[in-house]
């Protein structure tokens, strides 16, 4: 009984917070985003916070994450440090259009929206909602709106800003857009931002999202991404999560794909105290193709939870999931992958794989690869393994004069590379290889070039 009453009180807390600060939230956002808030708060009231009793969040203790003492501010924050001075991207060779989100708000350097070559629009979501209401309205909350997750409703009610990227018909993005989420403050802080990425017919988007924390306080982010891939559009999304161990991160990504589109997501979780990534994919048109991949490297008391839901709503679609992880020390983790093949989605081809290596007896891993199939002419398969490094392979390397530690690292590196090799941006791929290599060697506790001493 006690958990239920606590849940209610957590919900009540946020309902109260909304009542008391809805004005402030609205003033610092856009009217278009504001129109969704009341509906979302009613939804939150109905759904409540997810609890471990439910199947979706069976292993993730959301309550205790939200119960941490954290500031929630909705006004214009004063950040006294010049972020650009202390933050240097750790991927030196990568030539990107850089956008910063600081504590969930667009980091303003005078220009809220930029027009990139080919008519691509990128910048603050709330600004875009004011300048291009037609564009934003067509997609905003269209894909996340039907979610049954209380945390998504929470985000819709509170999110004030985020990044908006729009590629018009037939436009291919030359330079990838890099979005850096930075959490920095002088006390614990909660932030909820909202991103919207739209690629119209035949357009192409390359987006890199990096999550960082720049001060050693408790942070919680609850973010929502909505991604729309129009007919034959191509989107490559890479996310690198590298926050300190005192931070908690919950991300929701709603990926909507039309006929013939191709969307690839890679989530590389290097560091973070509590990470939960929800990826929802809806294959809404025939011949759409989706690749959802993830790599997680956890140690100490970290918790990493990946949840992937692929909805095959149309026939002749293809989906592929690959999630791999290494759990060290007393880290724990979970993977849930669900493939839903609807009644008419014949000729579906869906594949799912989750592999885990446990390095110690204190590490824990839970894996739930699920299939829910209502069409008969389909090819669906999944595989899940938990184990350790192949002793034979290790012996092979050692018999060739490679010492035990190096041989182990070599094999683990090869194991992780299977995910990394799918990253399309070459400079980024090489850099991540390098980061992962360092991470496996235990040399990476923070990004090398960053001046902040966090985590």
């Amino acid at each position: 009984m006690s958990t239920i009453t606590e849940n209610i009180s957590l919900k009540e807390q946020f309902l109260d917070l909304y009542r008391s600060s809805s004005k402030e939230i609205a003033v610092n956002s856009a009217p278009l985003m504001n129109t969704h808030r009341d509906k979302a708060i009613i939804k939150l009231e109905k759904l409540g916070f997810p609890s471990r009793g439910g199947e979706e969040y069976r292993y993730a203790d959301i309550e205790s994450v939200f119960k941490q003492d954290m500031e929630k501010s909705f006004g214009n924050q004063k950040i006294n440090i010049n972020i650009r001075e202390i933050f240097h991207c750790d991927v030196p060779d990568i030539d990107t259009n850089l956008f910063l989100l600081v504590n969930g708000m667009f980091y303003n350097n005078g220009q809220m929206l930029k027009e990139l070559p080919g008519g691509i629009i990128a910048g603050s979501l709330s600004q875009a909602a004011k300048d291009y209401p037609g564009l934003v309205e067509k997609h905003y909350d269209r894909y996340a709106g039907s979610s049954k997750d209380g945390l998504v409703a929470l985000n819709t009610a509170f999110a004030q800003d985020g990044i908006f990227i729009y590629a018009p018909r037939g436009v291919k993005m030359e330079k990838p857009v890099q979005i850096v989420n930075i959490m920095i403050s002088e006390a614990g802080l909660m932030a909820q931002h909202r991103n919207l990425f739209v690629a119209e017919e035949d357009a192409e988007l390359n987006i890199v999202v990096c999550d960082h924390s720049l001060s050693a306080h408790r942070f919680l982010t609850n973010s929502v991404n909505e991604v729309f891939a129009g007919e034959r559009a191509q989107i490559n999304l890479t996310r690198i999560q590298n926050e300190h161990n005192g931070s908690s991160q919950i991300t929701h990504s709603f990926n909507h794909q039309e006929t013939g589109s191709n969307l690839a997501t890679n989530i590389i979780s290097l560091h973070g105290g509590f990470i939960r990534n929800n990826v929802y994919v809806k294959l809404n048109g025939e011949h759409a193709e989706n690749h959802s991949m993830g790599l997680y490297l956890s140690d100490k008391g970290q918790y990493i939870d990946n949840f992937v839901f692929i909805d095959h709503a149309s026939p002749n679609c293809f989906s592929n999931q690959l999630y791999k992880g290494v759990m060290d020390d007393y880290a724990s983790g979970a993977f849930t992958g669900r493939i839903l093949v609807r009644r008419d989605a014949q000729k579906t081809n869906a594949y799912q794989s989750n592999n885990n290596i446990l390095l110690t007896d204190d590490a824990r891993m839970h894996s739930r690869p699920q299939l829910e199939i209502y069409a008969d002419d389909v090819k669906c398969s999944h595989g899940s393994t938990m184990g350790q490094i192949d002793e034979n392979a290790l012996f092979y390397l050692r018999s060739r004069g490679i010492d035990h530690r190096e041989a182990r690292l070599l094999l683990m590196f090869a194991y992780t590379h299977e995910v990394i090799q799918n990253i399309k941006v070459k400079a980024l791929r090489e850099r991540i290889d390098d980061l992962v290599n360092k991470r496996l060697r235990g040399e990476l506790s923070r990004c090398n070039n960053c001046a902040m001493q966090c985590g």
Partner: protein, 482 residues
């Protein structure tokens, strides 16, 4: 050819339930409803010792605090627990001395079912305990088994004759607090089978229980307890049928198995409760908790099930691998047709070192049915070198049914190796074409492919049962195909 195939698949749905007869024999039933008095009445009717009544009442009180589980991928209509009869027994005239004294109608029933109840059929070498509605009717071969020290009798007899054994093991594998239906069963269970194999004894014949729900509106709640002492071996079979009725009947059973050091227990089920008619009316709700514990080192428990009946099946035969070097096995064929729903699978809990388990699950869905595999493999911290391999295949016949797989894999040991594989597909047109090419008609081809698909599991069944199971598959799926 497509048409022909469709036609055959249509015929699949015309397979009729062959055990739907009802036997008109005098029943001693209590009134509908469930309350503490009913629990007391059941206990009194069975002349149980005090400890049993206490166990029942504790379970009943706990049940009242519980809620019906909702996590299964099933649409369960609300069940009115007050609308069922919790005790119904064929009226027994005094104590029976030989088979001749058994109600002839009852014998007729068992003959129809093809159960070798009569002693002259002992060539088939199966010792049978038949449970009709709530009461164990007849146990055969008792004396022959007793010579070896094996106890095989109805649960109520065991309560009276071997109360210490019952007290020691009842509820030790499935406590009454385990789940909603286990609590319900613990409160109102009527009868069942009890089996005890002493140290070093290899049971010379297959033991078998046959369950039948006969009376209307009756719930059947039986309880089976098998204890295998050190280095013993037993193979146990269970079969179930029920008459065709329009209303839904409730079946909530518990099976507990205890395997001590180096013991081996094989438990096979052919479940063929009435599945309801083609419109989904009637049928049995089958909510069963089956669990075995490999308590001693080197012990082994093997579950084999063929699930073809019931409107709703909710069943997860599990193994707790507590001893070192223990083995758990689960082989399952689950068939759903028309409006049937099944959510079935297993749990393998690895506690001991070098424990190993294998799961082979074959689901077949037809009509508008839904068939789910739900299984958990859990490796605890101390289970060094634990090993699991799971394979779950689903076959879809028709485009209106569903096949689902929900595995839960949890590991807390770095030396454990767990593998899970699943595939979902339909019978390939190329496979049928290949058969046609060689002069095999489409109907035979489908039968052939289904047989081949389930062979891996059916092979694990004892001979007599394998034949029956194969026939059952033909009845429930292939209709006139076979």
């Amino acid at each position: 050819m497509q048409n022909e195939q469709d036609q055959i698949l249509n015929e699949v749905t015309t397979g009729e339930y062959k055990f739907g007869f009802y036997t008109d024999i005098e029943q001693d039933s209590i009134a509908k409803g469930l309350n503490e008095d009913v629990v007391r009445m059941i206990s009194a009717k069975k002349k149980e010792p005090e400890f049993m009544l206490e166990f029942r009442l504790k379970a009943y009180r706990h049940w009242l605090t519980m809620k019906m589980p909702e996590w299964a991928h099933l649409k369960i209509p609300e069940i009115d627990y007050q609308d069922h009869i919790y005790y119904s027994a064929p009226v027994q005239r005094a104590k029976l001395n030989s088979l001749d004294e058994v109600d002839p109608e009852l014998l007729e029933t068992f003959n129809k079912l093809g159960i070798p109840l009569e002693e002259q059929k002992h060539l088939s070498g199966v010792a049978v305990d038949a449970v009709m509605d709530s009461i164990s009717v007849k146990t055969t071969f008792r004396e022959a088994l007793a010579e070896l020290g094996i106890i095989f009798c109805s649960f109520s007899e065991a309560v009276k004759e071997h109360p210490d054994l019952v007290k020691q093991y009842m509820g030790s594998v499935v406590p009454y607090t385990d789940n909603y239906f286990a609590a319900l069963n613990s409160a109102v269970f009527s009868d069942g089978s009890f089996c005890f194999i002493p140290k070093g004894v290899r049971c010379p014949m297959e033991l078998s229980t046959y369950f039948r729900i006969n009376a209307a509106n009756t719930g059947q709640f039986e309880r089976t307890l098998i204890v295998a002492e050190d280095k013993s071996y037993v193979s146990y079979l269970e079969g179930c049928t029920a008459p065709m009725r329009d209303e839904n009947q409730l079946h909530a059973a518990i099976v507990e198995i205890v395997a001590m050091e180096s013991a081996e227990v094989k438990y096979a089920t052919v479940q063929n409760w009435y599945p309801g008619n083609k419109e989904g009316k009637g049928g049995i709700y089958n909510f069963v908790t089956k669990r075995g514990i490999c308590k001693g080192d080197n012990s082994k428990i093997s579950w084999t099930q063929v699930e073809t009946g019931s409107a709703i099946t909710w069943k997860y035969p599990s193994c707790i691998l507590k001893g070192h070097n223990t083995t758990g096995e689960f082989y399952s064929v689950a068939v759903t047709n028309n409006h049937q729903q099944a959510d079935t699978g297993t749990k393998m809990i690895h506690i001991g070192k070098n424990s190993r388990s294998i799961i082979v699950s074959k689901g077949i869905s037809a009509g508008v049915s839904n068939n789910s595999y739900r299984g958990q493999v859990k490796v605890l911290r101390g289970a060094d070198n634990a090993r699991n391999f799971s394979q779950c295949d689903s076959l879809l016949l028709g485009d209106k049914c569903g096949a689902h797989t929900f595995p839960y894999i949890e590991s807390a040991n770095h030396s454990a190796i767990i593998e899970h594989e699943a595939t979902t597909s339909k019978i390939g047109e190329d496979q049928i074409f290949y058969c046609n090419q060689r002069g095999i008609s489409t109907e035979d081809a489908i039968g052939l492919i289904i047989n081949g698909y389930t062979k891996e599991v059916l092979n694990k069944l004892p001979m007599e049962f394998a034949v029956e199971a194969q026939k059952l598959l033909l009845i429930s799926l292939e209709g006139s195909v076979g």
